[in-house]
Amino acid sequence: MKGKIEIDQELCKGCGLCIQVCPKKQIEFSDALNKKGYYPASFKERDRKTTEKLECTGCALCAIQCPDVAIEVYREEKEQSTTAKKAAPTDE
């Protein structure tokens, strides 16, 4: 796993946009309501069926799309990314 994310369960409003944009399909809704009454998203490290470890690349697309800034993204330090901002990918 080259990357991972942390989703703040109380900030998350369960909009599902991160789930929609994750290229690795590595985010799902959790079963439990949070305090605000939403079913928050949660990061699945393993595939439910195969229980295989999934391959989050730390691309941060989920975090970029997340309206509630509920996601923090971590990536293995290989490239020269000194600030968080510079690491945010652009498509151009």
Binding site: K4, G16, I64, A84, D91, E92
Partner: protein
Amino acid sequence: MKKVFARPESLKLTPFHYCPGCGHSIIHRLVSEVIDELGIRERTVGVPPAGCAVLAYNYFDVDMAEAPHGRAAAVATGIKRVRPDLVAFSYQGDGDIAAIGTAETIHAANRGERITAIFVNNAVYGMTGGQMAPTTISGQVTTTTPLGRAPLRDGYPLDLSEMLGIAAGSVYIERTSVSSPKWINKTKKAIRKAFMVQLEDRGFSLVEILSPCPTNWKMTPVQSIRWVEETMMTIFPPKVIKDVA
């Protein structure tokens, strides 16, 4: 592993009051990131609107002055004129900027006020519960167009940014979207450029951002970002409307 994405400094930790899937908070984050990156947090004054973003002052960690509905351009003008050393931006919904605030916006642009407008186009009046906005598209159902917007009765969607492009004092006008990470990144670039125009003392700049309002569109968040791309963009095509070199 290293943290590569985190909350920008200019954005307070306060949880957003926006609905799930709302575009406003994405845009808040982008503006905050730009403020951080340009290092202008300590000399920026934001002017939030009446609209769903009325509480924006709770989120931005910069000086914030609330404007009456539609008058952000005038308030920002007042601030900037007496303190040209500050960076002034307005944050406005479509109803705010393109209906009640039409005159203030057009004239601020035409005067070339050194202010930056963030124009959030969600095709509806969010805060007041889903009435027709100037940008509501033809046929769209809202609480005041129960059978869909009928141009003959309700008028056509208004393209304010295009009109602002004609204003002699506007320097940079771009329309973008937050409907996907790709568009979000483009939007951030546009916001950055808009602030740069102000920092370079060149004139009025504005970024119009197509933004989902799942609540009032009566859609899921995922449906709503699709609707932005599949429907709204046909009426309000994202593009650079004006960019004076």
